[in-house]
Amino acid sequence: MSLRILKAGLFDAIQDTGRYGYQYLGINPGGAMDITGMKLSNALVGNDLNEAVLEMHFPAAEIVFEEQMLIALGGADLGAEINGEALPILHPIIIQKNAVLQFRKNETGARAYLAVKGGYQSQTWLHSNSTHTRARAGGLEGRALRKNDQILTKQIFSGSFQGNGKLFTVLHWNVNLAGFYLKDAVRFIPGAEYHALNKLSQQKLETAGFSILPQSDRMGYRLKGDALSIQSPKEMISTAVPRGTIQLLPNGQLIILMADHQTTGGYPRIGHVISAGFAALAQMRASEKIRFQKTELAEAETLLLEQERNLRQLQNACNFRLQEYLAVYQK
């Protein structure tokens, strides 16, 4: 009941929905960047949606499965292969013992999620298994995975599934991503300092387009575009800054706070990306263009609730299919 890392990736770490309740101590929530991708992967293997998964960036780790397992890949398509044969994302897959998973090409998206049925054994710190690298706690010793790390799973996949001598078997259903990734624009709610932007800057925000700079990471996305200006630059007093906050830096450029953001900040808050838009944003890569679109609070909430309902429906459907499929092998 384990996986082993044969070759380390760029930054592969255990993540869940994040560590909330401790921001008053400066402890940021962290967690998966694309929580939707994480939850969909969990749904496909019949896990609790909030179960911790492995978040991977390209180039990703090379992993050997030391037992038969039920897995699913979600989020980015990193060109997964098992012994040279392509592995689809967003399907449940039964992997046989000793199969080696490799990722060949960053086809789409920025981070992939690997869920295993039953979940991984990992360290819980302050009620979350997310990896907090600064505190060196949570996940696997609070760090990214290294060569030779062994990750235990919580369950043995107990099917008597043979797989007809193949190293993996793709179960035939997948999930429909419609509505989960809002791709047309990055929708935002105006922030406390939005109205201090001059009119031209307010227009530019929605029309000019911005590109994501290479120094963007799990802390924040740095953007490049026409410089924006604040009418009366006032001395800001630091406040808490939640995930998705769009801050205006002194040079007129924007930064969007992502999962590993600092808990407080003192730059003008131009806006806040809506929660329903986090998943699509988290899958965007350096040099990609984004366009902002102002949105009403009520609409943002409705979009989020729709995603939540769709997720629950998908979870039920996945569980039903999986039970039906596996019942044959568990008699």
Binding site: Y24, L25, A137, I189, P242, Q262, R269, H272, T302
Partner: protein
């Protein structure tokens, strides 16, 4: 006494809101902030995930998807702001309650205080005078931010208030005590930083494996006392063996 009602409440996107008093850094305002922080922690409002006090504001992070299911108002924000508004109106706070006083040893030896000499020169003070001014006040922890356990404390005597360094250091050692404007703070980790470094504490400001991972909490009082370099080394060794 009631929590002062002259606040401004506004949404921070679709999953957080902020309650803010005025636009100054002031002890009495921060006392209202901490009072509301405590009231909200006790109140256990459905769907609240995080309550974050800052100098003159409290931000509440909530689970919008959960609350939207049962919410009868047009937005979850409306519902949450009403709950918090009612709580502010009905809460009576104890103004006599003394904050916890935390005493923190600091070694001001020049080997651990790379900016102490230049800061003294800039203010035309001796090093001894700077140290005495820094130790001479009880500071309030206004908020924690930037890094886990990084306490923003104030306010230092205006005679030693000094702006951040123009070129921040790429690595400030954990335990370094610094000044930035009228604030003083302690780096809990080795990290980049631009504060003027005037000493170092041998204590660990943050330990992930403790039940209370941070030595300081928002609203605490802090007093620094001087230790020699030998005492510093001894305390540091003791701390290392006990954690």
């Amino acid at each position: 006494m009631h929590i002062p009602s002259g606040y401004h409440m506004y949404p921070c996107g679709d999953h957080a809101l902020t309650i803010e008093w005025g636009s100054t850094i002031d002890i009495s305002v921060n006392k209202s902030v901490i009072a509301l922080f405590c009231v909200l922690q006790e109140a256990n409002i459905k769907g609240v995930k995080d309550i974050i006090p800052a100098y003159n504001s409290v931000t509440v992070v909530y689970d919008t998807a959960l609350l939207k299911k049962s919410c009868s108002t047009k937005t979850v924000y409306e519902w949450m702001s009403r709950q918090i508004g009612k709580l502010i109106d009905s809460s009576v706070i104890d103004t006599e309650k003394k904050p916890k006083l935390v005493r923190i040893p600091v070694c001001y030896d020049l080997s651990l205080a790379p900016d102490l000499a230049s800061l003294a020169a800039e203010h035309m003070l001796t090093i001894e005078e700077v140290v005495k001014l820094h130790m001479g006040k009880i500071y309030r922890v206004y908020m924690i931010g930037f890094l886990p356990g990084f306490a923003y404390m104030g306010s230092v005597d205006e005679g030693i208030a000094t702006p951040r360094k123009v070129n921040p250091r790429t690595n400030v050692p954990a335990g370094s005590v610094g000044i930035a404007g009228e604030q003083t703070g302690i780096y809990p980790f080795d990290s980049p930083g631009g504060w003027q470094l005037i000493g170092q504490t041998p204590l660990k400001m943050f330990s992930a494996n403790q039940a209370e991972p941070c030595l300081l909490q928002p609203g605490d009082d802090v007093q620094f006392y001087r230790v020699t370099i030998l005492e510093f080394e001894k305390i540091k060794a003791d701390v290392a063996t006990h954690s």
